[in-house]
Symmetry: C2
């Protein structure tokens, strides 16, 4: 077998180039650290390719601003100033989705999660971003706030060349089935087990 060839070649009617450039759905799941960190690392790499980056944080605690947000938004600013990289949008559920006129008015997290997903659907249909990071999106799926089958079919039928990274524990088997790339981050050892609390720069 020639070097650099994949082990199997699927009968999907695609050329190698078409298959190589096929947009991916990636899932980072498991109980370990690094799921979101690696997703933001993919965003960093995508920014460098000039991709239009959209981050959507599906967590209550997204009221906090994490370091990655500051840096990725700064890179988005750099794009506007110098044309380097790509544009960056960062939206958070916790403080009210930033595309809404009035922020901070959601009292119902389930509704806020559904609203976030609806906006992502609209953006996927409009091909707004080249990379979507749906951070901790597995939770609204696990809690039944957003319909897994609808997410799977929306991802499957999305137009163009849009990559999607979804992070969080307890990823639904249907989501894993639909994903092209799944990585499980497992905790082998964590300093909190040895009585150490989270710290600046490491946890946020």
């Amino acid at each position: 077998m020639p070097q650099g060839q994949p082990l199997t070649v699927p009968e999907d009617g695609l050329s190698t180039r078409q298959r190589r450039n096929r947009p991916l759905v990636m899932v980072h799941t498991g109980d370990g650290k690094g799921k979101s960190t690696a997703a933001f690392g993919v965003a960093l790499r995508g920014w460098n390719q000039g991709w239009r980056i959209g981050v959507f944080q599906f967590v209550k605690s997204a009221k906090w601003r994490i370091g990655e947000q500051t840096v990725l938004e700064r890179l988005g600013e750099l794009h506007r100033e110098t044309g380097e990289g790509g544009p960056v949008e960062w939206h958070k559920m916790g403080s009210g989705w930033s595309w809404r006129r009035k922020q901070g008015e959601e009292s119902d997290h389930a509704e806020a999660a559904r609203e976030g997903w609806e906006e992502i659907r609209r953006r996927l249909a409009a091909e707004t971003h080249d990379l979507y990071v749906l951070d901790e999106f597995t939770y609204p799926l696990a809690w039944g706030w957003v319909d897994v089958d609808e997410v799977v079919s929306t991802l499957r039928d999305r137009p163009g060349r849009q990559h999607v990274v979804i992070t969080g524990r307890r990823a639904d088997p249907r989501l894993l089935e639909a994903a092209d790339l799944v990585t499980e981050m497992s905790k082998v050892k964590h300093p909190m087990d040895a009585g150490q609390k989270g710290q600046r720069g490491i946890e946020w």
Copy 2:
């Protein structure tokens, strides 16, 4: 038990604040994707805290420039221009360590790896960086090029408040024992299994 308390409090004579701020050795291992990506994500976060970042790539293929290098070096430049974040140094074994006068002269990878480690020892002793990313450093350890016990004792006795992230498969059990935080990235599913090759923005 009050909320926010760790499950165990070690008898290490440290206050909670001292323990919280204890510098960490982190290992990202396993066969899955995301080990290096998550490490560069930690560097991104550290940069935002003003940390002095040092990245050391222990791989032959480090002749290539990956997107993270471009972006992190750009952030280092931004630090020099505006004072934002912290300084960034990125050194690669593949093209000859960048602190050497003459590059590209190593023919012996084992020697190059040892030389890289010696420089890191000097920097740890001098407290040169706040965060060291030793990317794919598990391989020179696994191949016996760099002595694991020496690495473990150097890490254990390092002065000040220096964080270290080590990535790569087949991490030595002594290294895992010495680490504060170990995450295993396991491959659940990868597009190469379905005949898709690596692509720009995702793999590099």
